[in-house]
């Protein structure tokens, strides 16, 4: 039986892909994992983030956008029990530059490459074509992994409308370039060299008639010409997309799904876990982020809260002998009532979280829980604190006085 801990999972893998719906704290969890992995497991650890919050980017020293990895200094006491054993590096994905590099690499010659890069449809295609962000993130991961410079690469995934999109992106890319549809669409232009009368075959005529009528033929011709150029990259692109897909399926790669214990994100996380399994990806861990502390579920707390809500005057009277700020009985009573009411408010939410947690079916081996922090994570030390919770070295911290 392998050690079912987050630490063991990260120690055994070379690539960890974090995914989850928007707003669950995926980027911070990925960064925290990388910090603690670098400190505790050693080796060279890279965190590849997509769109970090300003403070997180600052914390990781990611001032400049661009695909360059920078080393993040770790303090000697970043984790308890000795100085960090490894190095932390961080990089931020630059979608546009990554696409440009890809085109320059795969185009048959420079002239074609620049015809593509200068096309007015190119920017739109790369920024909006189905899953182009997802694809480029995975392609970038492949590139970094292939270099062999890092012992562990931790990846944040782009916020997608549908979390499984990026898993299918490589396959869709190769389907797109190898597709009959693309050949079919560009055929009239290939036959006539993109100029003069279009030789439209019977099968595609209805489409062209419709498209001409709605969009105008010049526009359609622009699209087709662009795709003709783009198609020249077919061989390199497809080979690459297959390699990217192979890496995601590789035994050295694992996925961690991040969620909060709220209805919608949790449902999405569960369906995402199921999709990963169905597609034969390795689902390594589920991270429950920003959970409320267990003391909110304590029966004693509930009983005291109920009493403070209903008998605040009596309790305030009994405390007034302490004098000072507590001499003002009406004020103390008001505060005690608020204490009771607020506890019971948060208790409702904590109970809902506990119910949702209990309903979770088919969990991965590792389920890590990270408590809600009363302050935002804004530096490497804060990330290490989150990472310690993930690694199970720290109990959820009590509120800071």
């Amino acid at each position: 039986m392998p050690d079912p801990s987050f630490e063991a999972l990260l120690a055994a893998r070379e690539v960890v892909v974090f995914c989850g719906s928007g707003g669950v704290g995926k980027t911070s969890i990925a960064a925290a994992s990388a910090v603690t992995a670098a400190a505790r497991l050693g080796g060279k650890v890279l965190v590849l983030t997509i769109d970090p919050a300003r403070r997180l980017a600052d914390a990781l020293g990611l001032e400049a956008v661009g695909n360059v990895a920078t080393r993040v200094p770790l303090d000697d006491n970043v984790v308890p029990g000795g100085p960090p054993r490894g190095e932390l590096h961080a990089a931020m994905l630059d979608t546009k530059r990554s696409w440009d590099e890809l085109v320059l690499r795969h185009a048959p010659d420079e002239a074609t490459a620049y015809r593509i890069l200068d096309n007015r449809l190119y920017h739109n295609l790369t920024s909006r074509f189905v899953q182009s962000h997802d694809y480029i993130a995975m392609e970038r991961l492949y590139e970094l992994h292939a270099r062999g410079e890092y012992d562990l690469i931790v990846v944040d995934t782009p916020p997608t409308r549908n979390a499984i999109d990026f898993l299918e992106a490589p396959a869709r890319m190769s389907e797109f370039f190898g597709g009959r549809l693309l050949r079919w669409l560009t055929m009239p232009y290939r036959v006539s060299g993109g100029r003069g009368a279009r030789m439209i075959n019977v099968a595609s005529r209805p489409f062209y008639n419709l498209a001409d009528r709605v969009l105008g033929s010049q526009f359609l011709q622009d699209i087709a010409e662009f795709f003709l150029n783009f198609q020249s990259m077919y061989g390199g692109f497809v080979e690459r997309a297959r390699a990217v897909e192979a890496l995601l399926h590789d035994r050295r790669t694992t996925f961690a799904v991040v969620t909060t214990l709220e209805g919608a994100p949790l449902r999405e996380a569960e369906s995402f876990c199921a999709e990963l399994r169905a597609r034969d990806f390795h689902l390594g861990a589920l991270v429950l982020n920003k959970t409320l502390p267990d003391y909110l579920l304590s029966p004693d707390g509930d009983r005291v809260a109920a009493r403070l809500s209903s008998e605040s005057d009596d309790v305030a009277a009994a405390l007034s002998s302490l004098g000072g700020a507590l001499a003002d009985q009406p004020r103390t009573a008001r505060v005690l009532r608020t204490l009771g009411d607020s506890f019971r408010d948060y208790e409702v939410v904590a109970r809902r979280e506990a119910e949702l947690r209990a309903e979770l079916a088919r969990l991965p081996d590792v389920v890590a829980r990270v408590p809600t922090f009363d302050t935002d994570v804004s530096d490497v030390a804060g990330l290490a604190r989150v990472g310690e919770c993930l690694f199970g070295h720290e109990e959820p911290p009590p509120p800071v006085p």
Binding site: R54, R55, L125, D300, V315
Partner: protein
Amino acid sequence: MGPAPGLLDRRLLFFTGKGGVGKSTVTAAAALLAAQRGKRVLLVEVDAKGNLTALFEHPPVGFEPREIHPGVWAMQMDTEASLREYLRVQARVPVIGRIGPLARAFDFVANAAPGVKEILTVGKVVWELREALQGRAPWDLIVVDAAATGHVVSQLDAPRAIQELVQVGPIRDQTEWMVDLLADPALTALNVVTAPEEMPVNETIELVARARAELRVPLGTVIVNRVLPELFTRTDEEAFDALRAPEASAQLARITGPGSTAVLDAARLAVSLRRSRSPYLARLRDEVDLDLILVPYLFVRDHGLRVTRMVAEALGDEIG
């Protein structure tokens, strides 16, 4: 110039927001509130997630509007259905049944060409507005659960983008009245749903700036969802601090029995959670010169119509 129209005084409301802030809930609540005030509302779900109607305890609906709650009709955007309707009604190209083998080709071009999917989405919505203005559709108000902050500008800018790309043809003519209706501040507004947290606030500030620079759609209101309550006034907080001193908390434990520590800890957590979020609220107030509506965090177990009602009530209280 008179005061800016209030949230529900226009005819077409788009709601955007970062994932996870409760955009759909607020959108549904706005529709519900308008219906409660006697309006006939068309609620449009743009992303094919199909869970907007669940906020009314109603099963998913299709492209045809269905009344899912008294006064609220809902429809699910479907770009292929929208294209078919457009071709039939406006381009007068009869398309019988499905577009069939052309659907895949359409899908392909729609994904690659700028704005095709967006124009079919926005086009349908603005078409319904025009029908309503001309008395051919019953809607007093159209409420759209639009794309998230990252995509909404390209979605709403689609008619103009198409105008620039397509120089002639029927599509170009269609886009002109669309652009006019979308730009009319008496009719249309783009509202942003956010939460008092770092990323949602950053995205809101960026979106408002971008929308001003690039979009002719007027901005409406910023709705700040999940605002945690302030537990104590400054003077009450003195008493709270006194209670947490060792002697007082020991005395409290003697009076109430075990459990008082958990109650004090919980209040401390509530105070610091609220406090850690208030700078973001302050930043919104400083940097966004739009009306802010605050919706309190709801300490409830369930979702569905009950929560939609509570949010609608909170919106109603703020709008007055």
